[in-house]
Structure formats: structure tokens, C-alpha cells
């Protein structure tokens, strides 16, 4: 059944779709590059539109199958429709990735600085220059991550998208840069943490929270980067 493995809005289980509509929706679903609750919502919306269209043709006097065929023809090729939706999904995904990275950055950063401060007995704000000294390149990569995440959030969705002429493709590129940069930042921090812990410079209990936060963000960044790459590639595919 169309969308059966997804969550979110969907057709009622007892809704019987005319065969041409079922075939069209299956082809449409196959052509969408990712499977998320947003995909499920799009399927439910297109299915509702198709069934409304079938009803309109039946009201004009067509029989069930003919009305369904007319509705499918009226909607245009399923793959073209999927490609148009892919562009919208890409923009929204890039926006969410950008927002998530901008929102989690200060939390993870503060957890790290607090840990270093507790280890050295200083104030957390004093630790930032130390981190930049210990980890050459950290400041540059961090600046790149924040800038790319802000661009992805603004260019992907919202009133500011008009200011970014490169569209969802560019927003996804910014989100990929931000996510990959975030993987680099978290890898640097975790490696540094490992060396400090090995040297006995930080107690093991202190490093658990920042290590878990960084590891979680690193894994989510990998997933986000892969999803954005898939969507971005699908915009120009076929």
C-alpha cells in the first residue's frame, strides 16, 4: 500500500484507490528520493488531490476507471511531479539542518568549555582562547560551519529565500558544508579529549557529557549530510 511504512498523515487503511491512481502514486513514491514523514504527507496530499479530480470527472459523467485515467493524465507525469517536490523537500531539509546546527552549536560548545574550565579551575570564557591554541584550524572550521549553517537556514526556507538566488540546490550545498564541517569540528574535539584523558589531565566523569553530545551531533551531521546529498543529486537527476 502506498506510504504504508511511513508515519504522519496518510490515506485511511480502508480507502480503495482506483487502479490508475494506485499505479500513479506508486510511481510517484518510487521517484521521491527519500522516505520521511514529509514524504508521507506529500503522498497523502497528492492522493487527496487525485481522488478529488476523479470525483470531478465522475460528476461530469465519466465511469470510474475513465475518470481515474483522466485524473492521472491531468496531473501530468508522476516523475516530473516527484522532481518538482524534490526541490521543495531539499530547501526545507537544508533549512532544518542549518537551524539544528545553529541551535546545537552553543550547547555543545558550552559543554566543552565548561568541562575544560572545571578541569583547569578557571572560568569557561577563559577557556576559548586555550581551545583555539590547542586545536589549530578549529576557529576557521567553526566559523565556516556557522556561516554555512546560517546560509542553509535562511536560503532553504522563509522570507529570506528571495535574497539567495541559488535556490534549494545552493541551500543544500551550504547545509552539506555545515554538516561536514561539524563532523570535522567534533572529530577534532573528541580526539583532543581523548589525548587529555589519556594524559590524565581531565577526570573521566567530567568528559562524559561533552563527549556524548559531540558524538550525537557528529552522527546526526553525517545523516544530515547524506540526506542533503541525496536530495541535491535528485534535483538534477532524470
Amino acid at each position: 500500500m502506498v506510504g504504508a511504512r511511513l508515519t504522519g498523515p496518510r490515506l485511511p487503511p480502508d480507502e480503495r484507490l482506483p487502479p490508475p491512481v494506485e499505479t500513479y502514486l506508486a510511481e510517484f513514491e518510487d521517484a521521491l528520493p527519500t522516505r520521511t514523514s514529509a514524504t508521507n504527507a506529500i503522498l497523502a496530499e497528492v492522493a487527496d488531490g487525485l481522488l478529488e479530480c476523479v470525483d470531478a470527472h465522475r460528476a461530469e459523467g465519466q465511469d470510474g476507471i475513465r475518470a481515474a485515467r483522466s485524473a492521472v493524465a491531468e496531473f501530468g507525469p508522476a516523475r516530473e511531479l516527484a522532481r518538482a517536490f524534490t526541490s521543495e523537500m531539499t530547501g526545507t531539509t537544508a533549512h532544518r539542518v542549518g537551524l539544528a546546527l545553529v541551535a546545537t552549536g552553543p550547547v555543545v560548545g558550552l559543554a566543552w568549555l565548561t568541562t575544560f574550565a572545571l578541569g583547569s579551575g578557571s572560568h569557561w570564557a577563559q577557556e576559548f582562547p586555550s581551545v583555539l591554541t590547542w586545536l589549530p584550524g578549529y576557529g576557521v572550521v567553526m566559523f565556516l560551519v556557522v556561516a554555512a549553517a546560517v546560509v542553509a537556514a535562511l536560503a532553504g526556507r522563509g522570507p529570506a529565500i528571495r535574497m539567495f538566488p541559488w535556490g534549494p540546490y545552493g541551500a543544500a550545498t551550504a547545509a552539506i558544508v555545515a554538516a561536514v564541517g561539524c563532523v570535522a569540528v567534533d572529530t577534532m574535539l573528541l580526539t583532543h579529549l581523548g589525548s587529555l584523558a589519556a594524559a590524565g589531565a581531565l577526570p573521566g566523569t567530567l568528559v562524559v557529557i561533552p563527549a556524548v553530545l559531540s558524538l550525537a551531533r557528529l552522527l546526526l551531521s553525517v545523516v544530515a549530510a547524506r540526506r542533503c546529498l541525496t536530495l541535491r543529486a535528485a534535483i538534477h537527476a532524470s
Binding site: P9, R10, L11, P12, E15, A41, I42, A44, E45, V46, A47, D48, G49, L51, E52, C53, A56, A71, E74, F75, G76, P77, E80, L81, A84, F85, S87, E88, G91, T92, H95, G156, R157, G158, P159, I161, R162
Partner: protein, 112 residues
């Protein structure tokens, strides 16, 4: 009237179709057809991604109706969408006046 002729004006048309109140995708298509006595021949499938694009730009918002027999997404204009519609109407009025002047061989001067 074919879709390519309307390129660049689809957003304004969709915003205008929502000016009277919230509507779902197919109801918007019917408004466009009824207001033009069927002259607008848009592929129905193009409307839905265009609505998502307008929502992504913050010009419309959507909610899911729970009291319909099947899930139904309903769109409405946002404050930015109402401003966008006013701009679209003004741009269209100027565009159509200018093109009509050229087509009809009449002089046209831009407002000061």
C-alpha cells in the same frame, strides 16, 4: 491558455485564489478554472509543488484537516502572502497595460 504563457505569474494566481479564504489544492485549481471559464489549462500536478514553494517562502501556511474523510491539507495566506498578492496585482496591472499599449499601437508613459 497554456502553462508556459503563465510562467512568472503562477505565484500571483495562486495567492489570488487564496484571497477569499483557506482552500485545499484541488479547490485552488477549481477556483482558477471557474474564474477563467476553463481557459487556464494548467497541469494539475504543477499546482501542488508551487504551493509548497509559496509555503517555503512564507507567503502561505498550511494545516491538515482532521474532520475530512481523508487527510486534507488546507492552505491560507500569511501576512507576507497578502503583501505579496498586492505586489503581484500591481505588477500585473502595469505589465498588462504596457503590453496592451504595444500590441494596440498606443503610446504609454510610465507613472512618475
Amino acid at each position: 491558455m497554456r502553462a508556459e504563457v503563465l510562467k512568472g505569474h503562477l505565484d500571483g494566481l495562486l495567492l489570488a485564489a487564496l484571497a477569499d479564504g483557506p482552500r485545499h489544492g484541488y479547490a485552488i485549481i477549481e477556483v482558477l478554472r471557474n474564474r477563467t471559464s476553463g481557459s487556464l489549462d494548467l497541469p494539475t500536478g504543477t499546482i501542488y509543488p508551487a504551493l509548497h514553494r509559496l509555503e517555503r517562502a512564507g507567503l502561505i501556511s498550511s494545516t491538515w484537516l482532521s474532520d475530512s474523510p481523508r487527510p486534507r491539507r488546507v492552505y491560507r495566506l500569511t501576512a507576507a502572502g497578502r503583501r505579496g498578492l498586492r505586489e503581484s496585482r500591481a505588477n500585473w496591472a502595469e505589465f498588462s497595460t504596457v503590453v496592451s499599449a504595444v500590441m494596440d499601437g498606443r503610446p504609454w508613459s510610465a507613472p512618475a
